[in-house]
Symmetry: C2
Subunit: 347 residues, 2 copies
Amino acid sequence: MKVAIVGATGAVGTEFLTLLEERSFPVTSLRAFASPRSAGRTVSYAGQEVVVEPLPEDGNLGADVVFSSAGGSVSLAGAWRWVEHGAAVVDNTSAWRMDERVPLVVPEVNPEALEGHQGVIANPNCSTIIALMALAPLHRAFGLKRAVVATYQAVSGAGLWGIEELRRQTAAALAGEPVQPEKFKHQIAFNVFSHDSAVGDDGYNAEERKLLLESRKILGLPDLAVSATCVRVPVYRAHSEAIHASFERPVTADAAREVLAASPGVRVVDDRDGNTFPMPLDAAGRDDTLVGRLREDTALPNGLALFVSGDQIRKGAALNAVQIAETLFGVVPATAKRAENASPVAV
Amino acid sequence: MKVAIVGATGAVGTEFLTLLEERSFPVTSLRAFASPRSAGRTVSYAGQEVVVEPLPEDGNLGADVVFSSAGGSVSLAGAWRWVEHGAAVVDNTSAWRMDERVPLVVPEVNPEALEGHQGVIANPNCSTIIALMALAPLHRAFGLKRAVVATYQAVSGAGLWGIEELRRQTAAALAGEPVQPEKFKHQIAFNVFSHDSAVGDDGYNAEERKLLLESRKILGLPDLAVSATCVRVPVYRAHSEAIHASFERPVTADAAREVLAASPGVRVVDDRDGNTFPMPLDAAGRDDTLVGRLREDTALPNGLALFVSGDQIRKGAALNAVQIAETLFGVVPATAKRAENASPVAV
């Protein structure tokens, strides 16, 4: 398959290149696109250097599948034109997520939404994907009614510069030098701050609104009640979330653990005696979303409390998008084949 | 007044010394006690060096008021014996908080609980104090029913060593060296982990249980529903909390803001346009608890979402204890006198 990556030099773009190779996506040609100021640089794919091109005026990316993560304005302007030239577009920006023509997909949750797609498929917001990896199987078992979410979000969500800014600020703070925020408005080293997306008239910021609206669309629950407080923490690349959820039917910690243990893409980490639960450091670089701290909630009726950590760049972005493409084209990833071969029950 | 500090070399003990001077507490003599291994060291109070003593066998600390923060076992063994020798004991450990003979007090919230005390007064858990600084005035106005809390807790809560361990781990991580946790079980540099207190059979840890039980006792609401997820973050000394609360009566963000703006010890930081809200870095070293992110909650009936940051060592520990002593003995702190003199309405 002819593959194009739009935004190839960014944090998510780089991860696309790693994942396509790691999962042996059947790539016959790979083109890398980015903004004109990055054109001419090279990116690495499967041991080859690929020269980064500016986006062509005519919208013809010469691709069967486009992975796009160059920002909302690029996807807004380009996505349907890339489709006109024969590509399926898996868009990692927020540009088309709430558009009625566009499926919003987490392959483990709602792969059926891909049926009859019109060319553009949206990859959900990272916090939403990571929350739903745990909440969707619980919803199927117990009927989700409401969720209160507090996030602990890594700086990678802001882009590669977020990682660099955390590192630079931390070094300055340790050296006793004044810390000068550059792109983030507030100091992130040894601090936490409310998520750096725009705040609406109701006081919720854009990240929090995505958790509400995207969860409703993905789960097909237009009346689902979600309230989130999204917070940036000095962590490099995995997001964590404290979730307190309320269900139609009673749910015990044991029943929830059983459901989650059987859910693909989820790994239960819930060692009460050892005080070991999901941590962003353990989730970084992994495909699975870690879920633990399972408790019958003491405040919400039919409630369950839990804590999740997931790699924001992988499952929260690039991995989920590649999985969408795999589902769309019936591609079985090499990692799944390897896992099958390694299984003791495999022939 | 004759003052004794038990645990004088710890993070909270050191802050007691600072606060007694800063607030001109009427100290006629000051004795500093700590474990035998710290005996002989000196601590600074009002420009003087005070030699640290081991606790006397007979329980006579020669004090009118004892501030105790040497750990639960020391307070369990000593508190009532210190009282027998004529002291009022303000205990900053969890030893006596839930004891029926012992008032559990936040002076802005339930000073009336001090009436008829029997000598030992308990200072609440830091996360509980900081949450109630916002929730108590809201309760008086709207009737608190339930609260879902997710914390972002500083390492200072574990003691001075927590601060040192975060600094050491961060330096190692920045240098690309392996990070070796010493006292914390898990890496705290560039990571978050579930609070390092023991986990009970219901999955809640001790910190989360305190938020439930202490809030009920302080507010006099035995049926109050609280569910918390307590998390350690790489921040030095102020705790933050995302709170989603549900009330008897409808509450708007504006009405809540008005109530909080009129509450002593609270500072509203709620700049939506400037995306500036409570942050631990701004709360550190301050007396006021910062409250913001006020939103009508999209998940809870009659709900309000908010975010608070408070200095864990000050209002979360030493300041609250000193305020208890001031209330008990009718001492007006110098800071209040200074504030009054500075006020444009003062004569």
